[in-house]
């Protein structure tokens, strides 16, 4: 059969698109001229610094309503990216949602590690979490607090709850990897690339990289994230921007997300080695072989109630890697909450806004 080439563009629709494109471009040009960087603010919910050590700062959010959950909650984000994502903007803020539901909220900011933090380890971060817990507990005159861990911060809180069960009232984990090899259970294309990529490296590759840079560079992790959505990364500043450039609200939403993405702190060197080798490569946590400060992190020592929240379309932390915690903790009060959205979408997406905050607040209140 002779080859024929019959692909065609509908001229009527093409003309309509051209007209719309021109109108968007005109509006976008106006907006670009009007909006300044200072107009793009994130993490604006008022809070006060109450403790500081080395590069670590603990903040207390000012209440927005009467307290309904008596036991305070400490939010611990990880070292890849910053906690500001959970308070991206007023109408997309887990922080505001929890505050409006009467939760007393604290957050720890890990600062901006650089090469001077080359030798900081995950044990040090366990110490910092302990210091934060002690400060909060002393302020409230209580012995235990609630923990809310996010991604690598969830690994921190998991380890803390296993090593210091006497100090934890209950624990909420969100998008937290526990079994770093459980990505193999999923055949969804594009999911779990970080797991695959780190396993393709030798341990000495990680060691030499840390020797060379002193840190796990924030830019490197940014590149890896971009690789995971290759075409989206390429079209973000043309097609995606064209979709929002004619609407001030959507445009500012876009810019706020960009502001958060651009904030890529470095990951301290020795801590990065543990993260990549002990956890991603050797999967020691779920296998009961992970040690901090010479003590084995035994998940069965987690005796507090646990709520494990995961994002159903999370390509960075595949759900199976989070759900692996089920059946491993020593607590009989273990529940899961799977929400629509991806790794970040579960926090900032429209669908999850009502579900995540109320899901966490209701669960905490029932165990307060």
């Amino acid at each position: 059969m002779a080859e024929t080439n019959t692909f065609a563009i509908d001229p009527v629709r093409a003309f309509a698109e051209a007209k719309g494109f021109g109108e968007r471009l005109a509006q976008g040009t106006k907006l670009f001229g009007e909006i300044k960087d200072e107009d793009v603010q994130i993490a604006t919910t008022p809070k006060d610094q109450i403790w500081h050590q080395d590069k670590v700062t603990l903040y207390h959010y000012r209440p927005l309503t009467e307290r309904k959950v008596r036991t305070p909650v400490l939010i611990a984000y990880g070292l890849v990216g910053r906690y500001t994502m959970v308070d991206l903007q007023e109408d997309r803020s887990l922080v505001r949602n929890l505050l409006n539901l009467g939760v007393d909220l604290y957050v720890v900011d890990w600062g901006n590690p650089n090469r001077a933090d080359r030798y900081v380890t995950l044990e040090d971060y366990d110490d910092y979490v302990d210091e934060c817990v002690n400060v909060i507990a002393a302020r409230h005159g209580i012995g235990r607090i609630n923990l809310l861990g996010i991604c690598e911060g969830g690994v921190f809180t998991t380890c803390y709850a296993a090593l210091h069960p006497e100090k934890v009232q209950s624990m909420v984990l969100t998008i937290t990897p526990i079994d770093f090899h459980a990505d193999k259970l999923s055949d969804r294309p594009g999911h779990g690339f970080i797991n695959v990529w780190t396993r393709s490296l030798e341990a000495e590759d990680v060691d030499r990289m840390i020797d060379a840079y002193g840190v796990l560079p924030g830019e490197l992790m940014g590149s890896v994230f971009s690789m995971m959505t290759p075409m989206r990364s390429m079209t973000k500043y043309n097609l995606d921007l064209l979709d929002v450039v004619d609407d001030r609200k959507k445009f500012l939403n876009f810019l706020r997300m960009e502001k958060w993405i651009a904030d890529r702190p470095h990951h301290p060197g020795e801590a990065a080695k543990q993260w990549l080798k002990d956890l991603y490569q050797e999967n020691k946590l779920v296998e009961g072989r992970f040690e901090l400060g010479g003590r084995v992190v035994d998940l069965r020592h987690i005796t507090c109630p646990v709520l494990n929240v995961y994002a159903k379309d999370d390509h960075i932390i595949p759900p199976a890697t989070s759900q692996a915690l089920g059946g491993k903790v020593g607590s009989s009060d273990y529940s899961e909450l799977g929400l629509p959205g991806g790794h970040v979408g579960v926090f900032v997406g429209g669908k999850a806004q009502a579900l995540l905050g109320s899901g966490i607040a209701d669960w905490l209140a029932a165990r307060d």
Binding site: E3, T4, F7, I9, Y119, D124, S200, M209, S223, S233
Partner: protein, 287 residues
């Protein structure tokens, strides 16, 4: 009308109906010329650097260039193949663009531009760019080895970059192949694409995304990534060793010395935290 650079057998059948297969040559020619210039520039640069740093020690320190040359040749072949694939498509988009008054198709050349494909590949070490501007060589005495190590690391990084670019170019070419098939050409004419430019773009994005993600899972890609990371790291470490030599010469703290200080400081901080905990514990015990 300008004389077409497209071969007669590749020219559109009609000015109104873009020919996806037959119209990529013009853009591909431009890409091929720039690629050739890039390769020639690299060869000249490497040659000049070798001459400047290893003139008297060439025999002893000349790195093995065979791998680099092989990578260059393989990449050049892949570039030619990709050029043949993309040139016809670019021509058809150009024709349609003229018909619609350059609507939102103005950005399409960028996402079909193989040079843009290169840009989307992450560059792990920007310090390589700085090295291309050339170190200022003051002495070539006892430090030839350190410079040779840097030079070898740079060549290795170039080789690994080319190998990775080759892999990615093949992935893009495969994606372009699949895209044209799905446009409803050839035997699949009954399912020919008809729609808007935006729908066409979305289809390309989906196909390219799937192909690139599938490529990321292959052993070849992961090996290439690892090699590239290793080459970048090796270069950086060779640079640091060279920097340490000069730091010592001029009495400036070296990286290793500063790392020692930071290690001591980190350990001291741990001890202070431990002491504070112990004191709190004692205070608690004594009420």
């Amino acid at each position: 009308m300008e004389k077409s650079a497209v071969p007669p057998e590749s020219r559109p059948d009609s000015a109104d109906i873009p020919n996806a297969f037959g119209a990529m040559q013009a853009f591909g020619d431009m890409w091929a010329r720039s690629s050739q210039a890039f390769f020639e520039g690299q060869q000249k640069w490497l040659g000049d650097l070798a001459k400047a740093t290893l003139d008297e020690q060439k025999a002893a320190f000349q790195p093995d260039m065979s791998g680099f040359k092989a990578a260059q040749e393989a990449y050049s072949t892949a570039v030619t193949n990709a050029m043949n694939m993309s040139s016809a498509l670019m021509k058809s988009f150009g024709a349609a663009q003229a018909a619609t008054g350059k609507a939102e198709t103005s950005f399409l050349p960028k996402i079909f531009d193989p040079q843009a494909w290169w840009v989307s590949t992450p560059d792990f070490d920007g310090s390589v760019v700085r090295l291309q501007e050339g170190p200022q060589l003051a002495d070539i005495g006892q430090i030839e080895r350190k410079f040779a190590a840097v030079y070898s690391a740079m060549v290795a990084l170039r080789q690994r970059s080319l190998e990775h670019q080759l892999l990615m170019t093949n992935a893009w070419t495969d994606a372009a192949n699949k895209f044209m098939t799905r446009l409803g050409t050839g035997r699949d004419a009954s399912n020919a694409f008809t729609g808007s430019w935006r729908e066409l773009t979305s289809r390309w994005i989906q196909i390219a995304n799937d192909e690139l993600i599938a490529t990321q899972r292959t052993e070849a890609y992961l090996t290439s990534q690892r090699n590239l990371l290793k080459a970048t790291t090796d270069l950086r470490l060779a640079q640091q060793e060279l920097a340490a030599f000069y730091s010592e010469m001029f009495g400036v703290p070296t990286r290793a010395e500063i790392d020692d200080v930071h290690k001591t400081l980190t350990n001291l901080r741990r001890e202070v935290r431990a002491l504070k905990r112990a004191i709190r514990g004692n205070e608690g015990a004594h009420g």
